[in-house]
């Protein structure tokens, strides 16, 4: 099996692998030869934009030694198709594939530096059924070649570092920061907490602002400067509550340090309303009219019942995660975990940060959608928008809502003036131009100028749109097909379990031994998910040499997936015999996926892709 050639498909470099000759077990997986190396070489001869590839002088030599007839790009493609057209590997083909690396070796004496010992060792340890070790092997090899970023920790180019947190972890994290600020600024912890929430947990900036203008910072945060006294309820002679109009000398009352005093009963109702009905916690203001003082946790603890305190803490944790750029809730239903990941919004055009929650859900840290590698978030958004353009809902949303420029909450404007205040993050902006409201002054209708498009643009647009549509449908059909198949995979997964049980009884295989079906089913689902998004990605790609490599990788994975899918659906009686084939094909699919994703991710990180849209 051509482990090395697959590598080449990414690196554009050629190595030899003596282990191939020594270990026939792996050769039986070689029914499909990734053609990328050859094709890539052909591309290099023509015009190769990659600097690292340009240094390799042996490209054409390899191409000729491997396939003497292969001198033109087009013939390469034909050859490849032929090669793949026979799914079951014939003996002669095996032999040919076996020969391929050997021939390569002969022609590659100048390439000793790339024949790393690492690769041979990895192949020794490789088990066809062990996907993880396959993946990691790949990572190792990769590191052995040239990518310093991945060296040291076993991450593939498309993986990101992250940590899954459960609610107690998150609470402790908050507590730690509150205590720290509390110690530095000498404020009571409940005030430090309010201050931190006001500053969206940006400690450095907050402390700086406090050091410069302590009073203003406290005032803005809704704290006031008076920290005297403890929180306790009192009876005040001659008091009348402004909310319920009750009076009486034995009426229990409470006031925060702002001095707005109400009876405990009203305070309790008020807090209950805010917490339960409005889901507010971090920014509950004093009930007094026009008073911006924030109700602190100490006052709250004094006034409300335990179930509300529980809810209050939950809501605080929720705002904490919402406020922190490095935290995000797992979007799976009823999942309690949050993920901590260092990928920033501004990095999202260079990386697709898929994370794996403890609940097994895989999602994108950038946008919370399900894993959509290799397509970057912005393109995913554009794609989904495009796919749904015809549905009424999407039309309505785009016609009637915008997103808060700060927190990205979807906002419907249902009337009124253009001065918007986001309910969630209190950001004030102009509905027309989405700019800061504070910059508008009083002349907010500055935003009324229509940018005239030239007339010729409009005319050619119509002609273009027809061909655009055709192109779009090409990609959309393939995307939708994989999406549909992925849905069917869910049924498949359930069927798998049944199959496994019946296979156990009919073939006498042990439970462990029939796990290969489960592995195969999961690999299928994962690969389809990836394939689906490669079509959305390809839709936005501008054609060049890189896209050809990408499309070849895509084609390879797709063919492998289809043939695995076919095997997988065979009657139970045949499955036991197919075990080795399925195992091999599963490993192959997984590996092709890793290659495709690594290639795409690296090019994305290095800014090598060119796109046909601005994003």
């Amino acid at each position: 099996m051509l482990h090395e050639s697959e590598l080449n498909s990414i690196k554009g470099k050629v190595t030899c692998d003596s282990s191939l000759l020594a270990y026939p077990r792996q050769l039986c997986r070689s029914d499909i030869t990734p053609p990328i190396t050859r094709k890539r070489k052909a591309a290099e001869v023509d015009n190769d934009p990659l600097p690292k590839a340009a240094t390799k002088a042996h490209g054409p030599r390899h191409a000729t030694s491997d396939r003497p007839a292969l001198s033109k790009h087009s013939s390469a493609a034909t050859e490849i198709t032929d090669n793949r057209a026979s799914p079951a590997s014939s003996a002669s083909q095996k032999k040919r594939d076996l020969v391929t690396p050997a021939t390569t070796t002969a022609s590659m004496d100048s390439d000793d530096d790339f024949m790393s010992d690492v690769s041979s060792q990895d192949d020794f340890g490789m088990q066809a059924s062990d996907n993880d070790s396959l993946g990691e092997d790949f990572g190792d090899l990769d590191a052995g070649f040239d990518d310093k970023d991945i060296f040291g920790h076993k991450r593939k180019p498309y993986e990101v570092e992250f940590k899954v947190l459960d609610p107690p972890d998150i609470e402790n994290e908050q507590l730690g920061q509150v205590n720290e600020v509390c110690a530095i600024l000498g404020l009571p912890p409940e005030s430090a907490a309010i201050l931190l929430r006001f500053g969206r947990w940006n400690k450095e900036k907050l402390i700086e602002s406090y050091m410069e203008h302590p009073e203003k910072t406290l005032e803005d945060a809704g704290l006031g400067t008076n920290f005297e006294g403890t929180a306790k309820t009192e009876t005040v002679p001659g008091f009348m509550c402004d909310i319920c109009c009750e009076d009486g000398d034995d009426l229990e009352t409470y006031a925060m340090r702002c001095g707005h005093r109400f009876c405990v009963d009203c305070y309790r109702h008020y807090l209950g309303q805010k917490i339960k009905e409005e889901g507010e916690a971090a920014r509950i203001q004093c009930p007094g009219d026009g008073c911006n003082r924030i109700v602190d946790s100490k006052s709250l603890d004094l006034l409300v019942t335990d179930d509300l305190k529980e809810r209050y803490r939950e809501l605080l944790t929720r705002t904490y995660v919402d406020d922190k750029e490095n935290l995000r809730w797992c979007p799976a239903p009823n999942c309690k975990y949050a993920v901590d990941c260092g990928v920033k919004n501004r990095d999202l055009h260079r990386i697709v940060p898929t994370v794996h929650c403890f609940c097994k859900h895989e999602f994108c840290f950038g946008c919370s959608l399900s894993d959509h590698q290799p397509t970057p978030c912005t393109l995913v958004k554009m794609w989904l928008q495009k796919c749904e353009d015809d549905s009424e809902t999407a039309n309505w949303i785009s016609a009637n809502t915008k997103e808060c420029p700060r927190c990205m909450s979807t906002i419907e404007k249902n009337g009124g003036c253009n001065h918007m205040t986001c309910r969630k993050c209190k950001h004030e902006f102009c509905w027309m131009c989405m700019g800061l409201w504070s910059e508008h002054g009083t002349s907010w209708y500055n935003c009324n100028r229509y940018e005239e498009k030239s007339g010729s643009d409009a005319r050619s647009a119509q002609a273009k749109s027809r061909s655009f549509l055709e192109r779009y449908l090409h990609y959309y059909n393939r995307y939708a097909n994989h999406e549909q198949s992925a849905k069917l995979d869910k049924d498949l997964y359930l069927k798998t379990e049944k199959k496994m049980t019946s296979l156990q009884s009919s073939s006498g295989l042990s439970w462990i031994e029939v796990q290969f079906l489960d592995t195969a089913s999961q690999a299928l689902q994962q690969c389809r998910q990836t394939l689906k998004w490669t079509y959305a990605f390809a839709f936005y790609l501008a054609r060049n040499n890189l896209t050809e490599i990408f499309e070849d990788n895509q084609k390879d994975l797709e063919m492998a997936v289809e043939s695995l899918s076919e095997m997988f659906e065979k009657p139970v009686s045949e499955l036991a015999e197919l075990k080795v084939d399925i195992l091999d094909k599963t490993a192959y699919c997984t590996k092709r996926r890793v290659i495709l994703l690594s290639d795409t991710a690296e090019n994305l990180k290095n800014g090598e892709w060119s796109f046909n849209v601005e994003w």
């Binding site: 319920c244 009930p287 404007k413």
Partner: protein, 157 residues
């Protein structure tokens, strides 16, 4: 009941004294009141006009804000009432004012203070227009006033 007690007290106080330009029209039950308001200064937009407000109270009033809107009355009743022109008042009487939403409401506010705020909102206005998107809003909005959820403020009017 929370709302009942508070509303009876408000009523007692207003029967004793109401600020100029404000008048109780209907307060016989504690779920819906109607008030008439007038703009007191010389604003030509609202001169010699009286407008009718409808207040709807939930059992959680005053913790929850009341639903307040302008309503019309036929001339046949002897008290013709129209909806005032204002860039924050829709032609169906719905008012876009932050203090009537849950975020801007304070339980210290009363029917009287709301009436006064609306008086001053009219007084300060000099634009003879409806909010942008008025027609669309009044045809499509089926929600209750309290569920209209975005708060928009415009400090200039």
């Amino acid at each position: 009941m929370f709302a009942t007690k508070r509303l009876s007290k408000e009523l007692l106080k207003m029967k004793d004294h109401v600020p100029p330009g404000i008048e109780i029209v209907k307060s016989d039950n504690l779920e819906e009141w109607q008030m008439d308001i007038k703009v007191l200064d010389e604003n030509p937009l609202y001169q010699n006009q009286t407008y009718r407000l409808k207040f709807m109270f939930s059992s959680k009033y005053p913790i929850e804000p009341p639903e307040v809107q302008f309503i019309t009355c036929d001339a046949s009743t002897g008290h013709p009432r129209t909806i005032p022109m204002h860039p924050h008042i829709y032609s169906n009487g719905i008012i876009c004012l932050d203090l009537l939403g849950s975020a801007g409401w304070s339980p210290v506010q009363t029917v009287e203070s709301v009436c006064m705020s609306l008086q001053s909102m009219l007084t300060a206005n000099n634009r003879d227009e409806r909010p942008p998107g008025d027609q669309e809003f009044i045809t499509h909005n089926r929600r209750r006033i309290r569920d209209i959820n975005f708060v928009y403020e415009d400090d200039n009017v």
